[in-house]
């Protein structure tokens, strides 16, 4: 299994579609045979998976956004979310930013 390195650039797979749930108004991630309901942290993380930012940059950005949270907790949340996405094969890990 490929380890999630700090310089990897996570990009949400084309299999997944981020949209707002009509019933609850919450952000959801749709993919073949499944759905993830995102909380605000999850939504912030998934929104940054554009293949341009490295994992390290993502975490730094999120730490800036959530001033109340502690950086270690945010780092752990990011890792947990990204691994949940990888387990469903919803994340591409780019080594270079896309053109």
């Amino acid at each position: 299994m490929q380890t999630l390195l700090p310089d990897a650039r996570p990009k949400l797979s084309a299999r997944a579609r981020l949209q707002t749930d009509k019933v609850t108004g919450k952000p959801i991630l749709l993919y073949p045979e499944g759905v993830l309901v995102l909380n605000s942290t999850g939504h912030a993380i998934v929104s940054l998976c554009d293949g341009k930012l490295t994992l390290q940059e993502m975490t730094a950005k999120l730490t800036g956004n959530f001033k109340a949270g502690n950086p270690e907790q945010i780092s752990a949340d990011v890792a947990q979310y990204l691994n949940a996405l990888r387990a469903r094969n919803l994340l591409d890990l780019l080594s270079e930013p896309p053109n």
Partner: protein
Amino acid sequence: MSRVVPRPFSLLAEVTHRCPLHCPYCSNPLELAAREGELGTEDWKRVLNEGAELGILHVGFSGGEPLQRGDLAELVATAREAGLYSNLITSSLGLTRQRAEELKRAGLDSVQISFQADEETLADNIAGATAHRKKIEAAHMVRELGFPLTINVVLHRANIDRLEKIIALAEQLSAERLELANSQYYGWAFKNRAALLPTRAQIETATQLARAAKERLFGKMEILFVIPDYYSDRPKPCMHGWGNRHLTVNPTGDVLPCPTSGEIRGLRFDNVRQKSLRWIWSESEAFNRFRGTEWMPEPCQSCEFREIDFGGCRCQAALLTGDAAVTDPTCALSPYRERLTKFLGELPELEKLPEWDYRGLSIVKQ
């Protein structure tokens, strides 16, 4: 009686029973609907819109072979406009490049192609049609057009020993998801179960191989492995509960709690030509019959797993005992489990396997 009606998440749109393949494990009913009885385009569009209003997020276009319908792209476009995530569940026969491009423009989200085996002779023998080579071509084309690709292989006694090669084929075709789904015994599969059911040793080997592949391909290919529940001690949480998350609309417009429940005798199913999807989901007799836990007999009623496996599968209870309202006989706690265990102990030897009864064909194999 007041009850909380849950929200449905997925809709299986069985738009036709017509199919160029004749797989002996098909879960379609033995009595297949004729083309003349199929719902029309406008009815299907209404079903999709009403489904999205109910909260449904996923629609699977299935059948039979959904490509047999000329209005498929129109239905896909309606689903897309309603915000549904759409999946085409296909044999791929009839998926020309032009057709695939048309579906892409209509907003189809993903494609699932069935394979019968890793190699042509066996695969075509199982399908009862010349199909394997066309499927390989279609899978490449689907990836070229940028669709996410799922490959589904129904496993049974004749192909389960080729699991490593099947997984290798899925890798070669750059599938992003692989469903290794052992046949479940309903419809045509039930009719053929003595010939299809693998031995316990076959299941054990396959389980280990699937687990290893899952680990090796983590982050590259999502692998789902489903065992035949006859070999389980606990029933599967069928549909995550009756009338809880899922509904199926069959080719003639009957709304079913699961694709095979139409075969349960004594249950009356409402039709979208007469009633709204919302009414059928929340009010109809069929959807409320086994909803929740109140209907449960013992040993389910007092079981700590009752909200985990929901008493298993109603269709299986009906098929194996004649009564849809008893505990699924795959459960070790079912008074009928012994019958199933006896059946497993009497599986025919390989050289004495009965011939398959092919779906929709009355040809006896020589």
